[in-house]
C-alpha cells in the first residue's frame, strides 16, 4: 500500500532551522529562497516524494508543520 503526503508549513512562524530538512527520509523539504516577515528562509515542500511520515513535524521545534496523508489507489 503506497501513501502520498503533503505538508503545510505555517511560513510566518517558521524559523528556518532546517531540522526538518535533515529528518526527511525522501528529501522532500528544502528551505525556500524567499523569506518570511522575520527574515527567515522558511521550509517548503519540494517535488511529489512526500509519504506523510510526519518525521519533519515531530522534530519541528516551533510546531509549524501540518501533515496530510492519503492512500494512493
Amino acid at each position: 500500500m503506497a501513501f502520498k503526503g503533503i505538508i503545510e508549513v505555517d511560513t510566518q512562524r517558521c524559523k528556518g532551522c532546517s531540522v526538518c530538512v535533515a529528518n526527511c527520509p525522501t528529501g522532500s523539504i528544502r528551505l525556500s529562497s524567499k523569506v518570511n516577515g522575520k527574515g527567515y528562509n522558511y521550509a517548503e515542500m519540494v517535488g511529489d516524494g512526500c509519504i506523510g511520515c510526519s518525521n519533519c513535524a515531530i522534530v519541528c521545534p516551533d510546531s509549524v508543520i501540518t501533515v496530510y496523508r492519503a492512500k494512493v489507489q
Binding site: E8, D62, V67, Y68
Partner: protein, 255 residues
Amino acid sequence: MNIEDIKKPENIVYRKPALLTDNIMHYCPGCSHGTVHKLIAEVIDEMGIQDKTIGISPVGCSVFAYNYIDIDWQEAAHGRAPALATATKRLCPDKYVFTYQGDGDLASIGTAEIIHACSRGENIVVIFINNGIYGMTGGQMAPTTLLGMKTSTTPYGRDAKLNGFPIKITEMLAELDGTAYITRQSVHTAPAARKAKNAIRKAFEYSSKGIGLSFVEIVATCNSGWKLSPVEANRWMEEHMFEKYPPGDIKDILK
C-alpha cells in the same frame, strides 16, 4: 491524485497540539526546548489531564514555558522548582505536578533541592534539559559542560584541573531510594523524539501511582551557545554528548 484531494481535514495525521498556545516561541531557531514543550503538550492532551496538571517553570531560557503550554503554571526561584513542586503536590495530591528545568537550574544552583526531593520520594515529574551550557546568560560553563568543551567562560575548553569534571546528575539520582523512574532521552531525530514522548508519558503515569519521583533527562542542544547551526549542533551532540550522557532507561522500579 492531486494536492486538493489529499489536503482534507480527514487526512491530517500530524498537527500542532491543541495545548500549545499561538504565541511564537522566543527560543532560537532549532532549539530543543520547543520540541520538548510540544511532546509535553501532546502527552497531557492524550492523557486528558489538562485541568489536573500544574507545571513549575524554572529560571533560564525556559522561564517563559508558561506562555506556551495551556495549563496551570507556577514560576519558581532559580533552582527551587522541586521545592515548589513538593508543596504543590502535597497540597493538591490529585494533581499531576511537573517541573521543567535546565542544567544551569537543576544541576548547579538547584542541586540541593533536586537531591532532597528525590530522596524524599515526592510524587512529581522532573523534566531536565541538559545542553551542557548556560544558554540564556551567554553560553557560560555549566556543571554538565563536557571536558574540552569551549564556552564563553572556558574559551580554551573545560579543563578538569581548573574547572572540575562534568556531573552525571541523572546517574547520581538513580542511586537514591525515592526515585521510581529515571531515564535519559533526546529529541534530535523523529525516532528519538517518539521515544522521549513515551518516556514523558510513563513518567506522568508513574507520578500518579505514589511510588516516587520520575525523572526524564533530555540531552539537548544549544546551537547559539555552541556556535553551530541547528543541524550541526544535533550532529555534535550525537558525537560528543552521547559519549558522556548515553540515552536509555537507567532505573525503573516497576520492571
